[in-house]
């Protein structure tokens, strides 16, 4: 038993924190929040240079072959700094989907470029009637000629506007199938949505009879569930890492404010209403971190508990982040309600993460299903 970050992970963490402090300060976040594209090529390039886009890609495809936990360490720091941009989508959704479902040839074609930061990808999963339910996929993939025709609408697709390819679950005759659709495909229309959290853009992707060849099939027809599920679980854990990092920062900001803000001639942190609120944030952030480590470890090392761990983590960490960010606003008072203070970016990211990749109600239902056997 050895439940702590190892020296390499601690170094990755320190490096990431330094990088985000220097390269993506809040001025950058604010600019990108309003920016249509949502990131700069410069920052993207530097992140790729540091090897972060390559971390979880197998060495056979020019990746670093590291574990999810190593990546989670970076994502925790990204959450702490509410870093904007398509890193999560590319690495966890597009890259993750491809890595789990692709054939060797497909991986050879895409993963090395993804590892190098040359291309970006995402996952087009949600359909308009799905709501928070991740299992609802109804878009049809009609077999035609040697390939398939995709017709329908996917919504809330992260960063599709800057992606080079989409992993697209759809129903073929034999069942759930994953397709790789390149963004130049004819009949594909991507339009960004005005969302609450401007640091991770969501798009509507319309498939107006998009024709794809046999080689675009990632998982064989009817075989899409297992790899999709694995990719989603890893992505859910990745999102939890962001949540823990973001909540940690929110807690620190609130606690520091409670130490310096004077009301009634003493720091407000001396009042139990504030003190106990801060203590509760600490309890929950540390709890979430404990769950996160387990869930990240389980994806790589304990397949039998990986699904449960991912859902427990997603249900707990995402709600915890929302509670902590909201609680920080209450401690900060009027200051926390202003746009000028940074805390609202955390609340918005928290709500986005809560809703993404299966909401808490979905994951609790999943947990109950696993318990009920």
């Amino acid at each position: 038993m050895d439940i702590k970050l190892n020296d390499d992970q601690l170094e990755i963490s320190r490096q990431a924190r330094r990088f985000f402090e220097n390269e993506t300060p809040m001025e950058y976040v604010r600019a990108m929040f309003e920016d249509e594209k949502g990131f700069t090529d410069e920052i993207w390039g530097k992140m790729a240079e540091l090897g972060w886009t390559a971390m979880c890609i197998p060495e056979a495809y020019d990746g670093l072959g590291l574990e999810l936990l190593d990546l989670a360490v970076v994502l925790e720091e990204m959450g702490r700094a509410v870093v904007p941009g398509p890193f999560f989508s590319t690495v966890m959704l597009g890259g993750g989907g491809l890595a789990e479902a692709g054939s060797d040839a497909q991986k050879k074609e895409f993963l090395p470029r993804l590892a190098a930061g040359e291309i970006r990808g995402t996952l087009a999963l949600h359909e308009p009637d799905a709501g928070g339910d991740l299992d609802y996929v109804r878009m049809e993939a009609k077999a035609e000629g040697g390939g398939f025709v995709l017709e329908g609408t996917k919504v809330f697709v992260p960063d599709a506007h800057v992606s080079d390819f989409l992993v697209v679950p759809a129903l073929a005759k034999d069942g759930l199938t994953l397709f790789l659709v390149e963004s130049g495909a004819s009949g594909l229309a991507v339009s960004p949505l005005p969302t609450m959290d401007g640091t991770r853009k969501l798009c509507v992707v319309e498939f107006g009879g998009v024709e794809v060849g046999r080689d675009a099939v990632l998982a064989a027809p009817g075989q899409g569930n297992a790899p999709l599920d694995r990719a989603l679980r890893r992505a859910q854990v990745g999102l939890c890492a962001e949540c823990v990092g973001g909540a940690q920062k929110a807690m620190e900001v609130a606690t520091e404010y409670a130490q310096v803000r004077i009301q009634f001639d003493q720091p407000i942190g001396a009042f139990q209403a504030i003190k106990h609120r801060c203590a509760q944030m600490y309890v929950e952030v540390e709890s979430a971190r404990s769950i996160l480590y387990w869930a990240a470890w389980a994806q790589d090392h304990a397949e039998e508990e990986a699904a449960m761990a991912a859902s427990v983590a997603k249900a707990y960490c995402s709600e915890m982040f929302t509670r902590t960010a909201a609680s920080a606003i209450q401690v900060l008072g009027g200051t926390g309600f202003s746009w000028e203070h940074d805390i609202h970016f955390y609340l918005k990211r928290a709500k986005a993460n809560e809703a993404a990749l299966g909401d808490p109600v979905y994951h609790r239902e999943r947990i109950a299903g696993l318990l009920a056997g």
Partner: protein, 405 residues
């Protein structure tokens, strides 16, 4: 016991509802949560609509006729307020401080000249008022006011800074709490002024909130000369005036919120019938049905607690510190209700207004963010619970605050 309006009151209500049907501003669209996204348009619409109410005899129902009011009772005022909150809350927003704080303070504590000058112009929509109480170091510790007013002949010279002054950029006047005696104990050295926002030395800077709007402002005052005739009450009497007059109007505020929230429950029910989850309307999902019902329960608590308080006051009861309950009953539930609404929408809850994919024009997204201020503004939840614990239940102050007295 009787929860019903009297036949006369009910007739008045029906009459007002049908008047309102014909008199909402041109192009008013009840399905939009904001008909006037721009503040200046909203202020203009408010003024015009208030004038229309005034001309029709629906402004200031419980204000004396001599100041332009209708000389009726509080019930009639509640009927008007609730109906407006239910039908066109947006149009009332620029008047929240004007009617909730400025007008009653002037009416109950102002002198004859102040009353006859300002109340008619409030009632007919000419003037919008804002409130200058909060300061950077006077948040929950409200009496920690450091804006100074120094007497200079028949003027005060005012210097200082106020924050969270809602609609200051639209307002004509401001109710201002200032320190006239720096040597007196904290709350004793305060006085209450009426400030003309167009006076030289008044500078307004907007504060953008987490919603992206800028409803609030910082107000800087540099050597602003306010005539002594603009002081309400005696010098040093500012704190007493600030806290007591408000209590009488609180029932109106609670009733307004209850009416607005009832409307929101209808909105939520419609939304849950349209939005789908796993292919089925959310309203068919037992988990979210519980949340919808709980939201309704909390609104009913606000409504019927408010009515009980109103009735108490109608019968001559004096509102006291237990009024803090009302503040807690509209602020905290609103956070839970808007959270529940977003939860029902799943990832669709991320979409703000302005897209074909927006749900109900982005109403709940705005409401969720705005609600985060509810437990902070107008006295934080912590302060309300202090008031109830200490002034209603008689629990002792903590020793640090006790030592200040």
């Amino acid at each position: 016991m009787d929860y019903r309006f009297s036949p006369e009151e009910e007739a008045f209500r029906q009459e007002f509802i049908s008047w309102l049907d014909d008199n909402l501003p041109e192009g008013w669209d009840p399905s939009r949560y904001q008909n006037y996204p721009r503040d200046d348009e909203l202020a203009a619409a408010y003024r015009a609509f208030q004038k229309r109410l005034f001309d029709a005899g629906y402004a200031g129902m419980h204000y004396p006729k001599e100041y332009g009011g209708q000389g009726r009772g509080l019930v009639h005022e509640v009927i008007v307020m609730q109906t407006l909150a239910n039908q066109c809350l947006e149009l009332r927003i620029p008047g929240v401080i004007t009617f909730g704080m400025a007008a009653p303070t002037i009416l109950y504590c102002g002198n004859e000249e102040q009353k006859s000058t300002y109340i008619p112009r409030i009632l007919d929509g000419t003037h919008i008022w804002c409130q200058g109480f909060s300061e950077p170091n006077a948040g929950s510790d409200v009496v920690n006011v450091s804006t100074r007013a120094v007497r200079d002949g028949d003027h005060y010279i005012v210097n200082g800074q106020k924050v969270w002054t809602s609609y200051a950029h639209l307002a004509d006047y401001c109710i201002l709490l200032v320190r006239t005696d720096p040597d007196a104990k904290k709350h004793r050295g305060l006085s209450y002024l009426l400030l003309d926002m167009k006076l030289p030395g008044v500078e307004i800077r907007p504060i953008k909130q987490i919603t992206g709007d800028a409803d609030f402002n910082e107000v800087y005052m540099e050597d602003v000369r306010v005539p002594v005739s603009m002081r309400v009450g005696e010098e040093g009497d500012g704190w007493r005036i600030a806290i007591t007059t408000l209590m009488f109007e609180r029932v109106l505020g609670d009733a307004t919120m209850a009416a607005a929230y009832e409307r929101n429950i209808e909105r939520m029910t419609q939304m849950a019938s349209r939005v789908r989850r796993g292919g089925k309307p959310v309203i068919e999902n037992p988990v979210f049905r519980q949340q919808l019902a709980q939201a309704y329960v909390e609104v009913m608590v606000l409504k019927y607690h408010g009515l009980r308080n109103l009735s108490h006051q109608l019968q001559g009861g004096i509102p006291g510190p237990e009024g803090s309950i009302g503040k807690l009953l509209w602020s905290e539930p609103n956070q839970r209700i808007t959270e529940a609404a977003l939860a029902m929408q799943g990832p669709g809850g991320q979409v703000m207004r302005g897209s074909p994919w927006s749900i109900q024009d982005g109403f709940w997204q705005y409401a969720f963010l705005r609600a985060k201020g509810n437990t902070i503004e107008a006295g934080t939840s912590e302060i309300q619970r202090n008031i109830i614990g200490e002034r209603v239940l008689g629990l002792p102050k903590d020793s640090s605050r006790a030592a200040r007295q």
